[in-house]
Symmetry: C2
Subunit: 345 residues, 2 copies
């Protein structure tokens, strides 16, 4: 999997990054995250058995909740939600909707990849079969839109549905390119945009739109920031697949390559070592061969270059944060950017 979420374990340093954001965000951010968590449970539990069981288990298996956090942080940067119960509810709903779409994608990705475990828990497909996995993913998508529709803000819905279309397109692009060892850089970047950056962008857009001072222009600017952060997030995730170590990522090195997914380190290594330019991923027959390929890639220096490129994208994201943001309001966004970079340290 090149899924942005499959890789790092819960104890990875990116969690430190998230904790730094939570510390800085204070009691209010922690409370909103806690309410997001509760509301996620409530929404999936309402779905009725047996779907509720699968949907709840998927959402509970959790992860870092980076996307809902982005929604809340973006809203804070845009002046915070209106100071009413309803304003708070709308913000939490937006955060929940983004995480539901993300969860739907995970269920369907695991189904497609035939994955039995995610974050140490059995996947829906493993527990209940392919049929249940298809339906559970569909339900999570539907719940996301149902939840967001309650906010009565068409711009929010548009942002989420655009991201959700992008996710599906990205998934299919990845399948279409499987084992295409000479996939071009542009195509790789396009896939990252679709599979990862689009939902990051939607998260920040939603946060900005749910804020009292939020305008469409600010939503565009924060969306562009999140898009870059998402791209860097995916690039670094792809570095981790090659660099490991296993104890950190929870999966064998080169898992993506073995599954035929061409990622940034391989693309850069191809340019650096003539022999790799003609290497066919389809020739990889076992995890040991994939690991050997990872060594070859690392030996070219491609991993350092890939990290540098990702860092450059993060730096650009930070530098382009709207100067119009009042003092201090961009601090949390900077911390989000740092949390993404922390992932590979």
């Amino acid at each position: 999997m090149t899924s942005a979420t499959g890789g790092t374990t819960a104890s990875g340093p990116d969690v430190d990054g998230v904790e730094a954001i939570m510390r800085r965000g204070g009691a209010q951010l922690r409370e909103r995250m806690a309410r997001t968590e509760l509301h996620l449970e409530r929404v999936t539990a309402r779905a009725g058995e047996p779907l509720a069981r699968h949907a709840s288990a998927t959402v509970r298996a959790g992860g870092k909740r980076l996307r809902p956090l982005l929604v809340l942080v973006a809203a804070e940067s845009a002046g915070g939600p209106p100071r009413t119960i309803r304003g708070e509810q709308r913000l939490v709903r937006a955060a929940v909707a983004v995480e539901l779409v993300h969860s739907a994608t995970l269920v369907h990705d695991d189904l497609i990849d035939g994955a039995r475990l995610r974050r140490g828990h059995p996947t829906v497909a493993a527990v209940a079969g392919r049929e249940a996995a298809v339906a559970t993913g569909d339900l999570l998508f539907s719940l996301a839109f149902a939840e967001l529709a309650r906010n009565r803000c068409p711009d929010q819905l548009r942002a989420l549905s655009d991201a959700s279309s992008a996710l599906a397109a990205g998934e299919l692009l990845q399948r279409e390119d499987a084992y295409a060892s000479r996939v071009a850089m542009e195509r790789y970047l396009r896939r990252c945009e679709l599979k990862t950056a689009a939902l990051f962008e939607a998260a920040c857009r939603l946060g900005a739109l749910a804020a009292g001072d939020g305008s469409q222009a600010l939503a565009d600017e924060l969306g562009a920031f999140a898009r870059r952060i998402g791209l860097a997030f995916q690039m670094l995730d792809d570095v981790l697949d090659v660099s490991g170590p296993v104890e950190r990522t929870g999966k064998a090195r080169g898992t993506d390559l073995l599954e035929g997914t061409v990622t940034l380190p391989f693309i850069l290594a191809r340019e650096r070592e003539r022999d790799l330019a003609s290497f066919e991923l389809s020739s990889l027959a076992c995890p040991e061969q994939a690991e050997a390929l990872c060594e070859r890639i690392a030996a070219t220096g491609a991993l350092d270059e890939a990290r540098e490129r990702a860092l450059a994208v993060v730096a650009e994201a930070k530098s382009r944060l709207p100067a119009s943001l009042p003092d201090g309001r961009s601090a949390l966004l900077d911390l989000v950017a740092d949390a993404v970079v922390e992932r590979y340290r």
Copy 2:
């Protein structure tokens, strides 16, 4: 498959019913249907390769477009869309969104059922694999919400997302109940509500909401009408699975039973013949045995009772149409009800 859409062939009598509606609806209805068709093509084509190819093929493979027709007819009953280009566009978008959700469901149903053909065309799963089928269905769902979001009407989005959640829940309920030969009537009816009636309801709600005179109250009333029609549609579809004939349905008699799906005729026959009460669907080993079971069910008189129950539901739907509708405005809705009944004649 008990999917409401899998069964009858394009030449079935329900097409006559649809034609009667089109005749009565006149040039305006025909033009709106034609624009719906064009817009469906445009929306799926915009998705970018390779998804656009699969999505377009799915939508093109078509069918009777009963659900978009319901949107347009409901709008007409509610006084028609506002007489502006934008009003017309919004109505067509609502019709397109409903058909996109329906198409998404077909792609995922076919994937789950392992179906190779639908309406004589190879399924996405057969042409491009399971991965592509999952992603294509996800994309069609997303496009539906993206399209409807452009209408900037949260009530419309809520109606569609509720239906889409119901579809997923119904699919999973059906899988959960597979081969459960003693499934209760209530559970069967609940499944029909989720898998079929909910999207019919959404279609009429959307039509009413896109109309100039449309109110939430009228949307509720037309939604309740459509819900009943959808329930009857599914009941009659389930009769056809048992009654055949093959030339009409395009599939062997008892296909649902062989796949372990308990439907109305079997439930009623169980009550009428003691031996059937202990019959286990899992004992069916081949199409011939399924056909023999169909004969046994037919011999109990259960098919007639099932038809009568469906007709009673249709009659109730018609009788409860709001008396407040101006003269003539319910005529098209009556024809829709008749078209559903025509299915099994």
